[in-house]
Amino acid sequence: MASYTVIHEKAEAFYDTFERKAELQGQTHYCPGCGHGIVSKLLAQAIDELGVQDRTVLINPVGCSVFGYYYFDVGNVQVAHGRAPAAATAVKRSRPESIVIAYQGDGDLAAIGTAEIIHAANRGEPITVIFVNNGIYGMTGGQMAPTTPLGKKTATSPLGRDALNEGYPLHVCEMLNSLEAPVYIERVSLGNSKQIMHAAKAIKRAVENQVKGLGFSFVEVLSPCPTIWKMQPVEAKRFVQDEMAAIFGVSNLRDRSKEAQPRPAAAAAPALEDLPRLLDLVNGSGVEGAAAHPPQELDMRIKVAGFGGQGVLMLGEVLAEAGLEAGYEVSWLPSYGPEMRSGTSNCHVRLAHHAIDSPLVSRPNVLLALNEPSLRKFLPVVEEGGIVLYNGSEIPEDCVRSDVRMVALPFTQLADEVGATKVGNIVMLGALLEATGMLEQDRVVAALKRLVHPRFFELDLAALARGRQEFRGSAADDYLWGV
C-alpha cells in the first residue's frame, strides 16, 4: 500500500479556527478568489519557515486587510487608516527583537497613508511591509483607489478613471526606489501559478531580511479583487496577469539584502541610579550650595527689555539663577517667538523671599531698558519708587518720571570699552547690583559661571565690575531722584 506525507497544509502561523463570527470559523472574510487570502497564506508560510511566529507582530490597518488578527496567531495591533508604518516604527523601535509586519492595502498605503510609508521607508525602519495592490477600495464597496487603472469604472469614477480628473495610477515601488534607505523593494503578482510561487519567495525574503536585522523591506503584490471588479475569479486572475502587470511592471526594483549590514544592537540601557546625572540634574548643572533661606526680605519685579541680540533674556536668566542660589523664590518668563529673531525682546524676572504668585510682571519695580523704545513702552507701568536703568547717556526729556529712580549710562559703549558689545547686558547687571545691593557678588559670579560660555566668563566678570564702578562714579545715582 502506498503511503503519503503532507507537504502543504494550513500554516502554523494561522489560528485553527477564526473567531470573527460565531459561525464560518473555518473561513476568512475574503470573497471567493480574493488575492488577500493568497497573500496571507504566503506570509504565514514565510513566518512558519523562518520560525518567527512568537516574535511576529502584525500591524493590521483599515480596509480588507483589517481582520488579519482573526487569522494570524501572532501578536496583533490594529491601527488607524494609513498609519501602519508609523505604528510599526514604534513597535519595532521599542521591541527590536520583534518581527514587525505591516500588511496594507492600496487605499491605506498609497492614499491616506502616503506620508507614513514614505517616511518609514526613508528612515530605513527595519520592518517588513506587504502592500496588496488590487486597484480598488474593496472593503468600502468599490471606490477608486490611487492605483486604479486608467479607464476603470469604479463607484467614484463612474465614467472611468480619467487622468485629467483623477491622475494616474500611483507607482509606489518606484517612488520608494528613489529613496536611499530601503534594502529590498519588489513588485510581484498573483496573475498565474508561477507568479504566485515567485511572490512566496519575495515575501519570505522581505521577512527574512528583518530576521537578519537588515533595513526596510517592501513587497507590492498585484492582486485580484474579483467581486468588486465584477469578474469571475479566473478572469480576475488573468486581468492581474495581463493588465495590472502591464500597468505597474512586475520586477525586483532593489535587493541589497547581501550588501546591507545588520543594524547594530542598541546599547544597554543605563542604570536607573545614573539617570539624574544623564538628565543633567547633578554635577554642577544644578544650584549647589544654595542658601536654604533668603538673606533678606525682597520682592523684585524686574522687566528687562531691549532689542533681540542685546542679551535681554540672558540678563534675566542670570538674575534668576543667582537669586535661586541666594535662597530666593525666582521666576523667569520670556517673550518668545519671532521676537527672538528681531525686534523687541523682553522678559519678566521675579525674585522674592516668599512664594511667587504671578510670574508675569505687570507693575515692575525694576526696569532694565536696553533701548529707547523699551524705556518708552514700560516706563509708564513702573511702580512708584522703582528703579529704571537706561542704556543711554541721558534719559530722553519726555521720559522723565520724578517718582522713580532713573539712571542713564551708556552700557553698550562701556561694554565696547570692556572688550565686546555683547556684554552690555552684564555691565548693566553690575550697575543694578551696585544700585540695589539685591544680590551678593559671589552668587552672581556663580550663576555666570554656569550660564555663560567659559570663553566669555572673564569678560563678563570685567563687565560686571565696570558696571559697578560706573554706577558708583556716576552722578546718575541721584538723577532726578526725588525732584
Binding site: 495591533v77 490594529q78 507614513e116 546599547a267 538628565l279 540634574l281 518668545y336 517667538g337 505687570s362
Partner: protein
C-alpha cells in the same frame, strides 16, 4: 534632589524620563519645540527612543504603536498639531492605550500666532476626536507642576489605560522656575496586555474594533465606567483663600497664577476674593465648585479664551450662582490689575463702603 532652574518644556521631558518614559515621538511646533529638543537629547541617553515624526498624525500613531508595545511613551505639541492628533486620541482611547501628550497652547484658530492662549480647552478636555471617549487632562500652573503632573500623568495613563494630556500654555512652557525633580527613577514592568513580539504576548491583540453592536456597547460602557471612576477618584484642585470669599475666581494654568496676585490686590482693596484653580480639567472639580457656592455670592471665571472652561463651571453650578467671565485672547494675558478692575466693575456691591466721617477726620487731622 537639588532645585534646578528649569524651563517648563524641559521639565516635562526630565520628569517623563524619571517616570520611565522611554519613547518620544513628535513634530516640532512653537511654543512646544523645546519638548522635542530636550527629548532628542535625553531619551537616547536614557536608552530610549526619539523619533521626529513626519507629522503630528504620524507622531500620535507612533505613540499608539509604542504604547501597544508596552512602553511608556509621550509626545508634545501645540494647538495646530493637537488638532491633527485628534484621530489618534480617539484610537488610543478606544484601544485603551496609555500615553502622555503635552499641549503647550498657542493662539488660534488657524495658524493664529505662537503667543500663549487657552483655546485648546474644548478640543482637549471635551475630546476633539470621534466617539464616546475622554482624555484625562492635567493643567500645571508652574514649572514644578510641569514636572510633578507629568509624573502623575504617566501613572494615570497606566491606571486608566487612556491618553492623558498635560495642558499648559506658552507661558508655562517657556518660563523658568526652580524645580525639584522626583528623587527616584522608575521603569514600570510592561503591562500584561501589551504586544511585545514574544511567546508570552503572542495571543495579545490591541484593537479598537468591536464589530457587534452589543460588544461595542459593552466596550463603551466599560470606558464610561473608567471615566466615572476617574471623576470619583482623581479630581485635583487648589483652593486659595476661599474660606471667607464672597467671590470665587476660577482659572487654570498661568491664569491661576495671575489670579493669585489678583486675590491679593482685591483683598488689599477690601474685596473678599478667593481662587479655585482646577488642576485636573477632566475630571473637572465640579463638586468643589458646588461646595464653594454654598458661601460664595458669585463666581468669576478668567481664561485666555473666549469662554471654554466657563461652560464646565456653569454646568457645575447649574444656574444656582451667578457666573461672570473675563478673558484676554490672541496671545494677550490680563494683568492682576486688569482682573481687579474687572472685579470692581462687575461686583460694585462687594466694594467696601467708604466709612462715613473718615474724610472729615482726615481733613481736620
Amino acid at each position: 534632589m537639588q532645585k534646578q532652574l528649569t524651563k517648563g518644556n524641559e521639565a516635562i521631558v526630565k520628569a517623563a524620563v524619571l517616570a520611565g518614559c522611554r519613547a518620544y515621538y513628535g513634530y516640532p511646533i512653537t511654543p512646544a519645540s523645546e519638548i522635542a529638543e530636550a527629548a532628542s537629547l535625553y531619551l537616547p541617553r536614557a536608552g530610549g527612543v526619539f523619533v521626529q515624526a513626519e507629522s503630528e498624525v504620524a507622531a500620535i500613531n507612533m505613540l499608539y504603536g509604542g504604547a501597544a508595545a508596552g512602553v511608556r511613551c509621550m509626545s508634545g505639541s501645540s494647538g495646530p498639531g493637537i488638532s491633527l492628533m485628534q484621530e489618534g486620541f480617539s484610537y488610543l482611547a478606544g484601544a485603551e492605550l496609555p500615553c502622555v501628550i503635552a499641549d503647550i497652547m498657542r493662539a488660534g484658530p488657524g495658524l493664529g500666532n505662537i503667543a500663549p492662549e487657552q483655546g485648546d480647552y474644548n478640543q482637549v478636555v471635551k475630546g476633539g476626536g470621534h466617539g464616546n471617549y475622554r482624555t484625562l487632562v492635567v493643567a500645571p500652573d508652574s514649572v514644578q507642576e510641569m514636572a510633578d503632573l507629568t509624573t502623575w500623568a504617566f501613572d494615570l495613563a497606566d491606571r486608566y489605560r487612556n491618553p492623558v494630556v498635560v495642558l499648559a500654555d506658552g507661558f508655562i512652557g517657556q518660563m523658568m522656575e526652580p524645580v525639584e525633580f522626583a528623587a527616584r527613577a522608575t521603569v514600570p514592568a510592561p503591562p500584561a496586555w501589551a504586544v511585545r513580539g514574544n511567546a508570552e504576548t503572542r495571543k495579545n491583540l490591541v484593537s479598537s474594533i468591536y464589530l457587534e453592536p452589543d460588544c461595542q456597547e459593552r466596550h463603551i460602557r466599560k470606558l464610561e465606567e473608567k471615566y466615572k471612576q476617574a471623576e470619583r477618584a482623581e479630581v485635583r484642585f487648589e483652593s486659595w483663600r476661599t474660606d471667607d470669599a464672597e467671590i470665587i475666581l476660577v482659572g487654570y494654568g498661568i491664569v491661576g497664577r495671575i489670579l493669585k496676585a489678583a486675590v491679593e490686590l482685591a483683598r488689599a482693596r477690601g474685596i473678599a476674593v478667593g481662587l479655585l484653580r482646577p488642576i485636573t480639567l477632566f475630571p473637572f472639580p465640579s463638586q468643589p465648585i458646588r461646595d464653594l457656592a454654598k458661601h460664595a455670592k458669585a463666581f468669576a471665571v478668567v481664561e485666555l479664551s473666549t469662554g471654554q472652561m466657563v461652560d464646565d463651571v456653569r454646568l457645575a453650578l447649574a444656574g444656582r450662582t451667578p457666573v461672570e467671565f473675563f478673558s484676554r485672547v490672541g496671545g494677550n494675558a490680563p494683568s492682576a490689575e486688569d482682573v481687579l478692575a474687572f472685579l470692581e466693575h462687575t461686583f460694585p456691591d462687594c466694594l467696601p463702603r467708604p466709612v462715613a466721617g473718615r474724610q472729615e477726620e482726615l481733613i481736620h487731622g
